[in-house]
């Protein structure tokens, strides 16, 4: 169905916008609207979601066959797919948020699929809470947009931002969420003096409010797409079944953050600062996550770090596209109206290709785990011979990830780097700031790192002759990270996966099938004889692998398909691509692009060679005992101590505050109440002595009261009022 929509969309070359209905409405014109919108970027996402979704479901048929709770699994998976489709088809931010939270819910549920494992339950919670932090920022950003730009719906786009218009009647995707009606005067946002920014008018003249809104939306995207510093949940999310990791935590849901940035791109095009921050966070994350991938012992976690890193690339590309839009806005005519050109297609292209090769990597990893019953790379090895299809498909994925032509990763990554270079150049020439070059350099280094860690993975898992399972590779001087179990927010962190390889005593090694496989879904024991029996899975799992491998190659040539160009706005297929498409047409060969392409290719090749040198042919590189790099290694293994930081924050600061507040509540606030109560209780205890039970004494008190009453009204009141008078004649 999704495919059909996508194909229709692609062929129609038009936007489909369904009549929306009012979800919540106010008479003052504030309407929250629900509707469907198929846009170019959305169509691309639909392809990704539904193709990967279908393959993963197919794959699950065998992979998950031995698990309990399959109905729940499939129900949650289907809920996820529908919510994800809904997210892609949303036509406004509110609906987007709704679906966004729903996919988050599915992610939560599926990470916690093995709910009996405390680590899985903890990881699920962590994923939800960390993304929730991002969501809160996102909400606030949307509030700002709503109150500044009016309606959250895009049903009636009118005048454009900064002089451009959204296509009349048909929405330009980038206009999603904005109707440029006069700003809501009901807002009372405290404004700063205007900075004469052209777009500031919509924000009441504030120059930093739009930037803030952009940053807040970035916060939401960072939460969902696991960008620094909200990245910590994604590695832990690997507690879920591998299929889920492939679908949700590699191909689709985590990409939703990028998708959000992409559809908001036109907005970032007017907030340079926010755009630069996006580039910075993306570039930094790509390197930062990659470095952690180099040392991670868990096969899925390596791929997870890789995902974070690649998402960083995409974010960087979106940011770069926005920087370019901001510095050199160009317009093109669509249906007679000028539309701001955007370059989000570059990021979306990488998203597209990444979805396939990353899903492929996860699914092959799943096949390996399925076969050998462990996730510890250091217990694998020599699988190439036993699992040829798996090894080759994974190699395809690895090559695509590293960016080796002709695999898809090369084209998309290259394009993305080129765009960043462009942006950096523009920024330095126009504003004199070399900042973007720094980020670009980070990203380029990440190319090397990427190739390094993914081929480390491949070599460790597949090369060599035999498994290392019997002789644990306790090469790491670093002790196993202590699992912070007492903390309420204790993440599952690395305890379950890294403990296996970091045993100090080699004797602690356990037989493979039963050891360390707590995270493996197949632990329920469908595997006879551990990994020695490791072999390629049946066709049900193999077919998705092969299909994905094919797509991992083919996705790179997507822009060549005639008629899909508008799906990827701003994409110029670089180097080879340009030559293929344009050389014949006599266009100039871009030297910079060529250099960039060569550089990234060189870095990737270097990375592969380095990996081969350290880990090729079944070797396991050990750091010397006195190596100064041991400290670095430890830091990386501990993921830069972010988990510890957040756990400490949660446990000691927040929970401590909560306990303190509870104490105050019980003993001060409620204590005051009880004090008052005690006061009355003491008073009544003394009053109780009057209650003798003897009728006469009661009567005496009654009489005292009567007497007081009489005296008051007969003597006191007349004395005050000045005379006592009864009416001369009673009025009967």
């Amino acid at each position: 169905m999704g495919l059909w929509i996508a194909v229709t969309e692609a062929s129609a070359s038009q936007l489909y916008h369904d009549a929306s209905f009012v979800w919540l409405g106010l008479p003052d014109g504030t309407n929250f609207v629900m509707g469907t919108l198929v846009s170019p970027l959305g169509a691309l996402m639909l392809v990704v979601v539904n193709v990967v979704g279908f393959l993963v479901v197919l794959y699950s048929n065998e992979y998950m066959a031995h698990e309990e709770g399959l109905p729940r699994y499939y129900a949650e998976l289907m809920l996820f797919l529908s919510a994800m489709n809904g997210l892609v088809l949303a036509d406004n931010y509110l609906e987007f948020i709704l679906m966004w939270e729903l996919v988050g819910l599915c992610s939560y549920l599926l990470i916690g699929f093995f709910w009996k494992k405390p680590s899985a339950a903890s990881a699920a919670k962590k994923a939800f809470i960390v993304t929730r932090v991002g969501d809160v920022l996102f909400f606030l950003g949307v509030f700002i947009l709503f109150s500044s730009l009016g309606d959250l719906s895009s049903a009636t786009p009118a005048t454009a931002y900064a002089g451009t218009t959204c296509p009349g009647g048909v929405l330009h995707w980038s206009c999603l969420g904005f109707t440029f009606t006069p700003p809501n005067t009901n807002s009372s946002v405290p404004f700063l003096p205007a900075n004469a920014a052209i777009e500031a008018s919509n924000f009441g003249g504030s120059s930093w409010l739009p930037t803030l809104a952009g940053l807040l939306i970035l916060g939401g995207a960072a939460g969902k797409s696991a960008q620094f510093p909200l990245h910590t949940w994604l590695p832990d999310a690997m507690e879920g079944p591998t299929t889920v990791s492939a679908l949700i935590h590699a191909a689709t849901m985590v990409a939703a953050g990028i998708y959000l940035l992409a559809i908001t791109d036109i907005y970032f095009g007017f907030t340079l600062t926010a755009a630069i921050v996006i580039v910075g966070i993306g570039g930094f994350t790509s390197l930062f996550a990659g470095t952690m991938g180099i040392v991670a012992p868990d096969i899925k976690r390596v791929i997870a770090y890789s995902t974070i890193s690649q998402l960083g690339y995409m974010a960087m590309a979106v940011g770069a596209a926005a920087v370019i839009s901001d510095l050199t806005p160009t317009y093109s005519l669509v249906n007679g109206t000028p539309v701001l050109n955007t370059f989000t297609g570059v990021a979306m292209f990488h998203l597209f290709s990444h979805a396939f090769f990353k899903a492929l990597l996860f699914l092959t990893a799943g096949a390996v785990i399925h076969a050998v019953g462990t996730q510890d790379l250091f217990q694998m090895g020599g699988l190439r011979k036993r699992m040829p299809i798996t090894s080759i498909t994974m190699l395809v994925g690895a090559l695509a990830l590293s960016g080796i032509p002709p695999f898809s990763g090369f084209f998309s990554k290259d394009d993305l780097l080129s765009l960043t270079w462009q942006a950096a150049t523009l920024e330095s020439t126009q504003n004199g700031s070399p900042l973007l070059y720094v980020f670009f350099a980070l990203a380029l280094m990440a190319v090397f790192i990427t190739a390094l860690y993914i081929f480390r993975l491949w070599f460790l898992a597949f090369s060599g002759d035999r498994s290392r399972g019997e002789a644990p590779a306790a090469s790491h001087g670093a002790p196993a990270p202590a699992a912070p179990t007492s903390a309420p927010f204790a993440s599952s962190t690395s305890s379950s996966s890294s403990s296996s390889h970091a045993h100090d005593a080699p004797a602690a090694a356990l037989p493979l099938a039963s050891s360390t496989s707590s995270s493996a879904p197949s632990a329920s024991g469908a595997h006879d004889g551990g990994h020695a029996g490791g072999h390629d899975p049946s066709w049900i799992m193999t077919v998705p692998l092969v299909v994905l491998a094919t797509l991992a190659v083919a996705a790179g040539f997507l822009p060549l398909i005639p008629g899909v160009g508008h799906l990827l706005p701003g994409l110029s297929w670089t180097v080879l691509g340009k030559c293929v498409t344009n050389c014949g047409a006599g266009s100039s060969f871009d030297l910079t692009d060529a250099l960039l392409g060569s550089a990234s290719l060189a870095f990737a090749g270097l990375g592969i060679l380095t990996a081969y040198a350290f880990w090729g042919n079944g070797k396991v590189y050990r750091l010397p005992k006195d190596s100064p790099l041991l400290g670095v290694h430890s830091v990386l293994l501990h993921k830069y101590y972010f988990d510890e930081l957040y756990d400490g924050l949660a446990t000691h600061v927040i929970l401590g505050l909560a306990r303190g507040a509870d104490w105050v509540d019980r003993y001060i606030i409620d204590g005051t109440i009880r004090g008052i109560e005690e006061l009355f209780s003491q008073a009544s205890k003394s009053g109780r002595r009057l209650q003798t039970g003897i009728v006469s004494s009661y009567a005496a008190w009654v009489v005292v009261g009567l007497l007081a009453f009489l005296v008051f009204f007969l003597y006191v009141v007349p004395w005050l009022v000045g005379g006592f008078h009864l009416p001369p004649t009673p009025g009967l």
Partner: protein, 107 residues
């Protein structure tokens, strides 16, 4: 039409009321308390009659007060009957007529 002054009637009534009150407050014997209450009742009835006699209106001879007095006399008789029943029950169950010993809200 009567020649007895209102003040005298009211004075008698007040004196009787104080007398009854004195009895209620000081006696511990249930029967005596009952009797004291009757004294107070009579003082009140006398007041009704007296005021009714000295109220100019369509009703001659202080009829409303007399009506109330009639009803009150009936009421007082009933009250005595109930009170004495309580006295009997109390005497049977507790063996005393001293109200100082009947300090619970039950027999």
């Amino acid at each position: 039409m009567t020649t007895i002054p209102l003040v005298d009637l009211l004075s008698l009534s007040g004196a009787l009321f104080a007398l009854g009150l004195f009895g209620v407050l000081t006696r511990r014997n249930f029967i005596l308390i009952l009797i004291s209450v009757e004294v107070i009742m009579n003082a009140a009835i006398l007041n009704f009659v007296a005021f009714s006699l000295f109220s100019p209106g369509p009703a001659a001879g202080g009829i409303p007060g007399q009506s109330i007095a009639v009803i009150l006399i009936g009421l007082a008789a009933t009250e005595v009957a109930v009170g004495l029943a309580i006295v009997l029950a109390l005497n049977r169950l507790r063996g005393t007529l001293n109200v100082a010993e009947a300090i619970q809200l039950k027999l």
